[in-house]
């Protein structure tokens, strides 16, 4: 019902949708979010983004987030996949799928999952620019605000 994966390889969205819905007909909608690597940061072009994480705590935090979403939105299932390691612009970073009987729970479930993932799961992004310099991405206040609109987890 809850599928949480941290991997360096890309994910197959079609295969993940099929796995989420396989053998059941009670799902009425699937909300999704796919995060990808943008080629610019603060107006400068980047050549890659590297995702670091805290093995162990990452899976634990993602599972807690996913289980909370299932309870809160009565989801029939959800999938959270987050990639780690170096990723060039255009690559997928994160996949969120939330399945529910109706669209509102599916869409809100997906929004909740990505908002909480961005503020509660121990991942850190480092950007590498065309001039060879590197910089850790700062946490954004908007992300904290987006997460707080859902209240306390």
């Amino acid at each position: 019902m809850v599928r949480v994966v941290v991997q360096s390889a890309d994910f197959d969205i079609g295969a993940e949708m099929a796995a989420l819905t396989s053998g059941r007909a009670d799902i009425g909608g699937i909300g999704s979010f796919i995060g990808t690597v943008r080629d610019t940061a603060h107006g400068a072009r980047i050549v890659s983004m590297t995702l670091e994480h805290y093995p162990g705590m990452t899976e634990r935090a993602m599972t807690q987030i996913a289980e909370a979403a299932v309870v809160r939105f009565n989801l029939l299932g959800c999938t959270l996949i987050h990639r780690v390691g170096p990723l060039p612009p255009g690559e997928n970073i994160v996949l969120v799928l939330a399945a529910a009987p109706h669209r509102q729970a599916a869409l809100e479930g997906a929004a909740f999952l990505i908002d909480w993932l961005k503020t509660k799961a121990p991942f850190w992004k480092k950007e590498r620019f065309v001039d060879g310099s590197e910089a850790w991405v700062d946490a954004r206040e908007e992300d904290d605000l987006a997460a707080t609109r859902w209240g306390v987890l």
């Binding site: 994480h53 805290y54 705590m57 634990r60 994160v94 993932l117 121990p122 480092k126 946490a139």
Partner: protein, 83 residues
Amino acid sequence: MKILYFAWLRERVGCGEEDVALPEGVATVGQLVTWLRGRSPGHEAAFSQGRLVRCAVNQDFATPDAPVTDHDEIAFFPPVTGG
């Protein structure tokens, strides 16, 4: 206890992991940070922006008043930026 560092804290400390014996007089995360700052200039640099340092004890987020013991895994890292 096992102490882990991630992202720019790891770079400033100069390692991702170190084992230390629970120092005398250290019972909380906040006291541990004060003790760690004295270990090297790298540690001091890592913890100098205290407002930007987050902590987890045994893989759960923890605040400076959280208790620590010799058997804990304590991690220090910046605010998370995944997703």
